[in-house]
Each structure stands twice: as C-alpha cells, then as structure tokens.
Subunit: 291 residues, 2 copies
C-alpha cells in the first residue's frame, strides 16, 4: 500500500512555484498577486483565508486580505469585486465561502471576472472545464488530478467510481476523469444518495473518489483488492482523548480499507493540503496568462 | 415495447409553443425571433438551417437567415455576431456548425452573448448546465430529457450508461441525468473508446444512451431485459434498394434490441426530430427571459 501523501506533494508543488516566482521576478520584474475577500468573522473561514495568505507569502506572491464586516451589503460586496476585477495589480482573487445569508453567493460568483476567478467557480470556468478547454480547475479536483499524476496512478481505461455529486468535488471529478487528458480517459460512474446498489458498484471500481462527508462510510467489504482510494471527506468527530476535543475522519474507514488498497490518501494529510497548493498554481497561471 | 416517438412528441411540443406564441402576441404584442447564421454552402448544413427556419415560421416565430459566403473571414463573422448580440429585435441566434476551416469555431462560440446562445454551446451556458442553474440546455440533451419525461420513464435511482463522451451529447447527458432534477437522480456511468469491459457495464444498465456514431453498435446481447434505449446515432449507410441510395442507421441494432427493450427510440424519428423543437423552446425561453 502506498500512501498518497498530500502534505509532501503540496510542499513539492509550493517549492516549484516559489522557484518559478523567483524566476518571474528576476527576469520580468513580475510578482503574482492574489487577493482574498472575507465577509464576517466566522472562525473557520478566517483560519482558511489566513492559511491561503500565508501560503502566498511563502512562495513569494504578493497577497491582499480584504476583511469586510458581517453586515456588508450585497451591493457593497459587488462593488468590492468590480474594483478587484479592474485592478491591474491583482492577478486573481477569491471570495471566501460561505457568505452571510443575506448575500446571494451565486450572484457574487457571477460578478467575478472569469480571468481572475482562481477558485474556478464561475460558470464560464466550469463550462470550460466541462469542455476540456484551458481554464482554472477548482482547487480540490485539480489537487486530486495532481496527486494521481505525481504518484503515476494509471487512470486510462480504469473504472472510477465517484461517491457524491457536489458541485465542488464529485461532479467535476466525474467530468474530468472521463475526458481525453493525461489523468483521465477513465470509465466513470457517478453515485450519490439516490444510488441503489452502491456496494455492487464500488466493488467494481479500480479507483474510488469518496466525497460525501459521512465519516468512515466506505468500508473494506465495499472495495476490491488493489483499489486506489481518494478520500475527500474531512469531518470533526468528538474525541475526549484529544487535546482539541475532536479528531478528523475521512469518508473512508482508513484502517480496514488501507489493507486492501494499492494507493490511498490519509485524512488529514491527503487531499486537504493539496487545495492551497492548487490555488497558488491557478494564481501563477492567471499571472502568466496576463503576460 | 413502447416506441419513444420523437416525431409525434416534437409535433406536440411545437403545437404547445405555437399556442404560447399566439398568446404572447395577443397579450403583449411580442413575437419571438430566432436568427440563424450560415457560412458557406455545405448542402447538409443548408438543409438543417432551412428546416430550423421553416420550423420557426410554423410556430409563429419571426426568423432571419443570414447567409455568408464561404470565404467570410473570422473577423467578418465576429462582426456579424456583435451586431446580432446588440440587436434588440433578435431573442436568440445560432451559428450553424461546422464552420469553414479558416474560422476558429471556439472563438465564434465564445463571442455569442450567452443570453442569446439558444444552442447552449457557450461555456457560460455549459457551466450553468453543469451547476444545475437555469440556462439553455443544448438541443439534443434537452430533447432526450423531454422524451424521457413525456413517456414517464423513471430515471431516479436507475443506472444510466452513456456510450460516447462528445461535448454535444454524451458528456452533457451524463452530467444532467445525475443531477437533482425531475429527469435525473440517476447513477450514471460514462463510457467511451477507452472503456475496457463495455458489455459488462451495459448489461447493468436500466437506461442506455448510445451516442458514438457507429451503426448498429449496440447488440441485443449487450443489454438486459426491460432496458430503455435512447439511440442518438444517425449514420448514412449505402443502400441500393433505396431511391436516395442510402438508409439511416442508429447506434443500436434496433430489430434485435427492441425485442428486449421496455422503451426505445427509433432511427429516424426518435431523438432527431426533438432537436429542432428544443431549439424553438430555447428561443421562446430567451424571449421570455427578456420580458
């Protein structure tokens, strides 16, 4: 069994990005610049955004954190976005989700210039992804492709079963892995809450992408030998033995499933760490697209 | 076995549209208007475009046919599109594909205002489709959804196998049928040329969408009893017994497969006639969106 080590892989990617940034700065006096907008003071969101900003600094990007109060109106946020859209100094920006309930998220996403939408959430970018055109692939699917690539997991002609049809992970993964691309050309089955005979299907899978958010949902008796497992789930489960009071569980019963797997991502330390690295990669791409 | 009669269904839809158009005209003095652009003089393309224009007239739409010479430059075509984009009298328009080789099709599609893109080919509309947001679903997938709906074919919890991953049919069908929508909620497997054990997979299917363009590819021994078959293929095969010199064949060996099927589309007269009806439906929608 080989662990798909997202922590190490993301560190490698960040190092590659840092080298490229140094080169860009030296040769062209250009520094990629990511801006992040956060509305309100949700603890988890602030932690995420801060991690993104810190990651920018580490690879040599410029970064801007725009903190807006919880009671920011939709109009004010749209105004902020139009400023970022035309700010030539900003290569890409993200609006941290979720937004307060009085703001229509879809409307906000639609307002972002697709050329600066490094989260890849704008319909134009989702459409380009679905059409296999160059675009910003959103961080989690992009990170999974990269992990599979760097560990030389063969996908062509393999049967991939995706569990969960979210717009963030399950749906784009099912689209991407079936396409004519290096990490692709797979036969893909997309399963979800309405799927009737899930076990029968997962038992046929060469590769399983679990993205449903139910801790330890996928058991050993649901997978065949030598399966590759990508575990996207990450749920906090109360644990009095931990200092934090909780532990993190994926969608896969790691201990039993890992015994049968050829490749498997740990949780934490698998898909999670890849996302920030891919956000940086998209920002670098946005910067290079501008040149 | 029940025949999914696209000819009859599309006639029903056109009748419904005609009623709605009459109502629109009477109540608001508004008539939907579709424009079609064709470049060059490819016989098949002219036939298709003429059929679309004629269908417009039959339901009471206004229509404009813009015929440009084969040697029209990309810039001239882009110019034509920007005129149509701002022409308030035009609710929706299509550019008949394929275009002459000196014109970049993707660039042309990107230039169409998504609000007038009644073919649903613009990445923004493809993205909205993939995100299950209101949009123009392109005619063939839209027609298939409509056929399944009107014949009350249950899709929820069913296993759909799509054969072929084209951007026009296979890929969008696989996305749509897995979504939370009336005709959706299916477990969907997308198969294609790299799929290794196709027969093993099609034998599990409750519904098969065949869209590969290989005449009579799907045989009776590849499907289970009571399967529903949507045959998107339509290939001209030489036939000296026919006056035209050819006959039309689908991707399904109709005679043998229909004996096992619960529902099946004929070729011709199945999916084909639905596409123009759905184009009209999209144009009506574009007109209503404007109001």
């Amino acid at each position: 069994m080989i662990l798909l080590d997202g922590k190490k892989t993301s560190a490698d990617i960040k190092e590659e990005i840092a080298l490229e940034v140094a080169e860009l700065r030296r040769r062209k006096d250009i520094t990629p610049h990511l801006a992040a907008v956060i509305v309100g003071s949700d603890g988890a969101s602030i932690t995420y955004v801060n991690a993104k900003v810190k990651a920018c600094e580490r690879v040599g990007f410029e970064s801007s954190l725009i903190r807006l109060p919880e009671d920011t109106s939709e109009e004010e946020l749209l105004n902020e976005i139009s400023i970022l859209n035309v700010d030539n100094d900003i290569d890409g920006f993200i609006v941290q989700l979720p937004l307060p309930k009085h703001i229509d998220e879809q409307k906000i996403i639609m307002a972002i210039d697709p050329e600066k939408d490094v989260d890849g959430f704008h319909p134009t970018n989702v459409g380009k992804m679905a059409l296999n055109l160059p675009t910003f692939i959103s961080a989690t699917p992009f990170g999974i492709l990269e992990l599979l690539d760097r560990y030389n997991v063969e996908t062509s002609g393999k049967h991939v079963v995706v569990i969960g049809r979210s717009h963030i992970v399950g749906s784009p993964m099912s689209i991407l892995l079936a396409q004519k691309r290096k990490i692709g050309n797979a036969t893909v089955t997309l399963t979800h809450s309405r799927t009737k005979n899930l076990k029968e299907i997962t038992l046929q899978a060469d590769i399983i992408i679990a993205a449903i958010g139910i801790p330890e949902f996928l058991k050993a008796d649901m997978v065949k030998d030598e399966v590759t497992i990508i575990d996207v789930g990450i749920t906090r489960v109360p644990d009095s033995r931990k200092k934090s009071g909780y532990r993190l569980l994926g969608d896969v019963a790691f201990e039993e499933v890992s015994k049968k797997a050829a490749f498997i991502t740990p949780v934490p330390g698998g898909v999670g760490p890849m996302t920030i690295a891919m956000l940086l990669k998209n920002t670098l791409l946005a910067c290079k697209n501008k040149i």
